[in-house]
């Protein structure tokens, strides 16, 4: 086995390390990194995590190889179900998501942790680039107790100073107490996880700060690939990638097909 983890494997490990046993986490389809990170947390140290997979509640630690599924509606991914989450009932009932962790994407993500899934262009009725729509990101980033931004594209067009439209609010423009004033129950995004690095948010300005760079990535690489001004501390540690045991779990049971190794 190649003991050097691929960037997406590092991302999955970052996600897994941030998860605590007992938390509730969603595993979507066609999002290999959050899927692997959630399952790695579940298998490595989360026997009491509630894993929502293909709109069911599943327990997967007894499953030798957890096959990928391409569609959230894949009946194959429902084989482990202990319960169904009827989608409208899930969305009509939010109280129990306070213990949840959510991973939010975006066609743009800005330095204050806001995400845009709507589109790009000044005129909303005639966008230059139409995005897929907010899906559930507006709400999930409010209801879950903990959330992160995740992107597979560390690119200045994605990581921008200011998103064209906010569909999921992070820290606005860094206003003090914005979320409390709006009555939003969680404290805001914890981090931005990319193929190059992890950002957290400075306590004072709420602006993205380089927390760690992935193995083999230089701080300058990150600066060059980022469209906003980064707060760079004096010492930037290297990201903790997967342990040997975690890498084994990833490659043999969670990502046997190698989606993270491309």
């Amino acid at each position: 086995m190649n003991e050097t983890a691929y960037p997406k494997e590092v991302m999955a490990a970052v996600i897994a390390h941030g998860l605590k046993d007992g938390q509730w986490v969603e595993v979507g389809a066609n999002l290999p990194v959050p899927r692997a990170g959630a399952l790695l947390g579940h298998l490595a140290h989360g026997p009491n995590m509630t894993v929502m997979i293909a709109m069911t509640k599943a327990y997967l630690r007894d499953t030798p190889v957890i096959e990928e599924f391409e569609f959230i509606t894949d009946v194959g991914a429902m084989r482990w179900a202990e319960a169904y989450y009827q989608h409208d009932q899930l969305l009509n009932n939010q109280r129990h998501r306070a213990n949840g962790v959510f991973f939010c994407g975006g066609i743009q993500i800005d330095r204050f942790g806001n995400s845009n899934m709507i589109g790009i262009g000044d005129d909303h009725t005639k966008l230059k680039f139409r995005g897929p729509g907010p899906i559930g990101t507006t709400n999930a980033t409010v209801q879950n107790g903990t959330w992160h931004l995740v992107t597979n594209s560390h690119d200045p067009r994605v990581l921008v100073d200011r998103v064209a439209y906010i569909s999921a609010v992070g820290y606005g423009r860094g206003e003090a107490n914005l979320r409390e004033d709006l009555g939003l129950p969680n404290a805001g995004p914890t981090s931005i996880i990319t193929p190059l690095c992890v950002f957290d948010f400075e306590e004072e300005t709420r602006s993205a700060r380089l927390k760690s760079v992935h193995p083999g990535v230089a701080v300058d690489d990150v600066v060059a690939a980022t469209g906003f001004e980064i707060i760079v501390p004096e010492d930037v540690p290297v990201t903790d990638g997967p342990t040997a045991e975690e890498l084994e779990l990833l490659r043999s049971r969670i990502d046997a097909q190698g989606a993270l190794r491309r």
Partner: protein, 299 residues
């Protein structure tokens, strides 16, 4: 005793005839699964115009197709795409970028709050998430206000009233007692907000089979049920067949050409071959081919 219990079985053309230009029509399912495609195709064949399409909370290419065919002028859904096949529906992108479609921008939680308001016969339902975002700015129909008890800032999501709701499910008896396989997506929420609900099913079964497990009955009173094996093709039906990837990619290629080059010829050829051309659902399935259909096993 007088009278006989009436059968609710209805055919595709008669269902589509209930839809008039300008109506609000819900289309059930979820992304690549469970769409009532036989009826969706008929709406296009019938030349319906100016429909407001209430797509699923995650709508798929069935809604994209209704945009591509010029049937939908308004859409109410938080997502139109096809997961691994396409992150964003190409016809949806094209129409939204051209400004030729009105998008009711909202999150899936707002979507269900609006359906719920309709089901509860109240003008709106309150929701907290969305504050601090641009959703109420670009979609002022999501109105910010202060709640009447504590004065907290909230968003009023207006009722989404549906004229005709179109669903696809596993089975039904002839009396409109419908049962889904699987988690049912948001189909029940759409039914609860609709004046009329028509459900195409893979199979009509006996009333005794329905009564054997009443908990499984998801739609206890469809206005009509349609016999439509492979009725969700090219999308999946839980426990019956998987998505027809090649067919879906064929549509996507045609719609993407339209998006990228403004050239509708491939898209029109697709519409001719699979929608305008076939006389009915069986004829459509003939064109797809029985060998292809039988290859779409669940596992």
């Amino acid at each position: 005793m007088s009278g006989v219990r009436a059968s609710k079985v209805i055919d595709v053309a008669d269902v589509a005839a209930q839809v008039e230009d300008g109506m609000t029509v819900a289309v059930g399912g979820f992304i690549n699964s469970g769409h009532p495609m036989a009826v969706v195709r008929q709406l296009i064949k019938d030349g319906r115009r100016d429909l407001t399409i209430v797509g699923a909370a995650s709508a798929g290419l069935e809604t994209d197709l209704l945009i591509a065919a010029g049937v939908a002028s308004h859409v109410i859904t938080p997502y139109i795409g096809a997961e691994g096949f396409a992150g964003i529906g190409p016809a949806f992108r094209k129409a939204a970028q051209d400004g030729s479609i009105d998008v009711f921008e909202l999150d899936e939680a707002h979507f269900y709050a609006g359906l719920r308001a309709s089901a509860q016969r109240v003008p709106y339902n309150p929701w907290r998430a969305g504050l601090g975002t641009d959703l109420p700015v670009i979609n002022p129909r999501l109105k910010q206000y202060r709640d009447p008890i504590n004065g907290e800032l909230l968003i009023a999501v207006p009722a989404i009233d549906i004229d005709v709701c179109l669903l696809h499910a596993a089975v039904s008896d002839i009396y409109g007692n419908v049962q889904h396989n699987g988690t049912r997506y948001g189909d029940i929420a759409m039914y609860n907000a609709a004046d009329k609900t028509f459900v195409s099913v893979e199979k009509i079964v006996s009333p005794e089979q329905i009564r054997a497990d009443p908990l499984r009955t998801s739609i206890p009173g469809a206005t009509g049920v349609i016999r439509a094996p492979f009725g969700s093709h090219p999308y999946s039906a839980d426990g019956y067949y998987v998505p027809d990837a090649a067919h879906i990619q064929g549509y996507l290629a045609a719609a993407t050409t339209w998006l990228k080059s403004d050239d509708r010829s491939e898209l029109d050829a697709y519409l001719d071959e699979y929608i305008v051309g076939p006389a009915d659902h069986a004829d459509y399935l003939e064109r797809v081919g029985i060998r292809t259909l039988l290859s779409l096993n669940e596992f």
